[in-house]
Subunit: 257 residues, 2 copies
């Protein structure tokens, strides 16, 4: 099979020296990649600078990206040249990217200017509408301050939605067996399965691996693999999860073929 | 000499899976640490998980921190037990830490509620004052939303000032030869020296190493070491900068002794 794996975590630049980073060691992606390679499959592996990687192999190609935008561009480029049989989208992708950053003083100055421009503020509905309108204008049009004044006690960072990569994967590669991932924090098994299945349905995945940050400690890694019919199988280490995903993707691919 | 070095870059948590990270490879700190060790000095080396480190050595002690708050705590703890002869503060420390995060909807709802509570909004001065007061209340009292609604198109991240570590270093270790660092982006040599000297004076450093991100490429690293009298010396690689800092700190220490 020709396999695409995304792993690691994206970063979104705030400025030249600061980013918002999604933490991911990449260890699960590495285990999945190595398991596919052991089974003789070809792997295109998209990852981020800080994540660990599978051992180099003649069937393995690396692509390195940092931001969600770079991820989108790299994937669209691959899809021009390759058709994938399986896609394992384990990368922790930022839902939001930076829009602008302002000191509290600059923010209030801009906001007052826009509110006043928008007119009557005495009416509650007007005020709410005017605030939405003003925030939208500030977010979209005001450049981050080049140099934050040193007396500034508070900064306001505007973040806007990133494109949904998982939806694009299904749209561009309808033939692929698609595995999505969902990480939650401190929820019940029922909620984990319910949210995982909702993600699967929404994004037309074949499987979703649902896991909880509080059930991941070193190599212990509790994961629940959910299929389209709502059936679940569990695994308790990264290697077990990798084995489970590889065997399910192979099985599904054989059934489709 | 008994030397303290800080290196790497701090991270500030946004939530369980995201942080704001100050980028720093730690390569300059590693070069400075290894040069002090080669000269037979003892080194306490405070660093961050992603940064590279000096080769282990019997005269070298590592302390690992992530946030600016952890850095402050770790340093205060060291100062209870150690007196340092030289302090090289090369860590990229976040000026700001996260205060709260809200979706645009939640932000506007809270803001309207507080503005209305504060009364008359028709007057421009009142509006500005009410906005400062409302933002302050929101920042300090509103918890981040546990789960960001999936329809949210914009997030507002409130950041507040971190304690100034360099000021605390001089206050707690008045006897130490103190070296501060200032990284700017795309400025003239004159501005670099002027800003570096201002930082030196403000924080009572003995030296400041001023450098520009645009003059750092791999091992090429242009740095200007400024002393209290405004004299400057330059170096063009990380090793040259390390040699320059170590020799200047040794010389200054001998003169004080």
């Amino acid at each position: 099979m020709n396999i695409l794996i995304t792993a690691g975590g994206t970063s979104e630049k705030i400025d030249n020296v600061r980013s918002i980073t999604n933490h991911s060691t990449g260890r699960l992606g590495k285990a999945i990649g190595e398991t596919f390679l052991t089974q003789g499959h070809r792997v295109t592996y998209v990852t981020t600078p800080q994540a660990v990687r599978p051992t180099p192999n003649s069937n393995l190609t690396f692509i390195e990206i940092e931001t969600t935008k770079e991820l989108e561009t790299a994937l669209l480029d691959q899809f021009e040249h390759q058709v994938f049989d399986g896609i394992i989208h384990s990368m922790a992708v930022s839902d939001f990217t930076t829009e602008t950053t302002l000191s509290e003083d600059a923010f209030i100055e801009k906001l007052v200017a826009k509110l006043v421009k928008d007119g009557n503020l005495t009416n509650l509905t007007n005020l709410t509408d005017a605030l939405y309108h003003s925030l939208d204008e500030i977010g979209k049009t005001i450049q981050p301050e080049k140099k934050i004044p040193s007396g500034t006690d508070r900064l306001l960072l505007f973040l806007k939605k990133n494109p949904k990569i998982i939806a694009m994967l299904r749209e561009k590669q309808p033939q692929a067996v698609l595995v999505g991932f969902k990480l939650l924090v401190g929820v019940s098994t029922e909620e984990l399965i319910q949210v995982g299945h909702a993600i699967l349905a929404k994004n037309k995945c074949d499987f979703v691996l649902a896991n909880d940050l509080e059930a991941i400690h070193g190599d212990h890694h509790h994961g629940i693999l959910i299929d389209a019919s709502g059936q679940t199988e569990t695994a308790d280490t990264k290697n077990e999860i990798a084995q489970l995903i590889v065997s399910k993707v192979e099985e599904k691919w054989r059934m489709q073929g």
